[in-house]
Amino acid sequence: MITMKRCNYIVAAVTLVIGVMIAYTSYGYGISMTMFGPGAGFWSFILGVGLIAVAVLIVTDTLRHSEEFTAVKVRIGEKANFEAYKLMLLFGAFVLLLEILGFYLDSFLFMCACMYLLGMRRFSSIISVALVFLAFIFVVFSLSLHIKLPLPIFWS
């Protein structure tokens, strides 16, 4: 658990870095008036400068209301958060394996793992739910709407 004050400093630092990068890169694209109008980096340069300004304002605001922000706690390292982090990892694996296993096999494995992770323990229910849902997806998207979904690497 960290304080909102600390969060604000993190947000301001990240914003500052992004703002400086955008402004610097935009400057390279050109920010002066040309025969085609303002340079290609003119608009994004304004946005970069805007981000820098907002980062400074956040730091100023946090310093002004230091006590208020210290009192607000942000939960990011508790057991409940790790449920979300586990799901993020699982979803990341699902996305990465999509082109290897293909949509249907990968989705089946993901759904089974996800339901187990979220607390479902009856394997018969887990498998039947995944199969029924994917059958529905197959009928609606692949057969009816002809939407192409990733095929397994061994299929092609």
Partner: protein, 495 residues
Amino acid sequence: MDSIIQALGILVTFENLGLLAIGTAVGIFVGAMPGLSVNMGLALLFPITFSVGGWHGIIMLLGIYCGAIYGGSITAILLKTPGTPASAATTLDGYPMARGGQPGRALAISTTASTFGGIFSTVCLVLFAPMLAKVALQFSKPEYFALAIFGISMITSVAPGSILKGIIGCLVGLWIATIGLDPMSGMERFTFGTLYLSGGISFMPILIGLFALTQVFINAEEMYHRSTSTQRITIDSVYPKCDDMKLISPTLVRSSAIGTFIGCVPGTGGDISSWICYNQAKTWAKDKSKFGKGDPRGIAASESGNNSIVGGAFIPVLTLGIPGDGATAIILGALMVHGIQPGPLLFMNHAVDVYTVFLGLMIANFVMGFFGFSLIRLFSKVTMIPMVLLLPIISVMAVIGTYSYANSMQDVYIMFAAGVIGYFMYKFDMGVPGVIIGIILGKLAEQNFTGSLMMSDGSLSIFVTSPICCIFLILALVGLLSPLYKDSVRRIFAK
């Protein structure tokens, strides 16, 4: 009058009404499915118009268009997962109301507002099409830029967290919209040499990531504390209550009028309209504290706002042949394929065609309302699915929706990244709507900003010489500075 009777003769046949009903039902289904957009539904079903032929196909497309915009609200209310970008604002009050045990009430308000907005805008289309088209015709680049800035100013009220952090999201969204080729010089910007980024980043994967996947992660975290994951909610009424109707009536009229006007401005759409209408409803409300916690006016504003663009969007399509958004571009294509050339001459030479579209839209809205009210109980069953089943289903649907949009795996990676970033934005009290608003309005703002400067040889005075431009910019300024003065204004009114 003869034209209207002839148009009715075309429309009121068993075959056409049946196709209109099928189109509307399919539209509601497409809109309700997270990740399936109005445009995608229209594009996917566009080939069907060839098989059914002529007006039959176009009438079906009209039904899909109306139904899909409405359908997006269903999952926005029940799952906090907007089926279409136009319903993103509906999540702000629709989802809290549904979570508070009143999904039927939220859906009833949504259906009422959607039907009212659709019919209102169609009546406006019929009555004021030439006049509204003239107003929209007066818009040039400075006015479009001012309109975009006005939209951006909404972050002051729609950002659920800190306003400064909401502005960060908006600026990042505006920057994302600059990725790709510069429209003026053709120079590649922020592409890092990749082919994928040179085409720019579509907002669809970011939208699905921020609104759907982030919610999956948040729900997974919340499940840890919940004893049961099944949401059993009893619906006592599927029709809006009298008190609700009294409360939302002014909002319905105001939002429908705003939505119709926004709809007739090419380049805008239901997403912009719903946010502006939501913001206006909040601005006009005496008691703003309930907004974001399940206020009926919030749902009504967003839904009447996004559905009322339908009639408005057809004004530039029919009178000028200019599509207002992607969906009307597809319908415009369908009209042209079937031998109907939209433009000023269409009103003079083919009045029957014009009235067929008018009446088709009108009937589609009635059918949409009928389906909405009669199937509300069925729609609400979605929330009874246990979260342990719902989360993997939404995750897989998010992947399908993102991938099928452009058959791109990079879009899926971006969606995943947006979902993870959205989770931490939520934790750090940063509102995600700002990012979406920034992306939606980014191109409109930049192109018209640079275009205006070209028109004025680099002078910024062009933004203050036009009265329309001035009004939009003043309104934007009032909105952006509202955090500075709203407490003082509230104190004055309290006295």
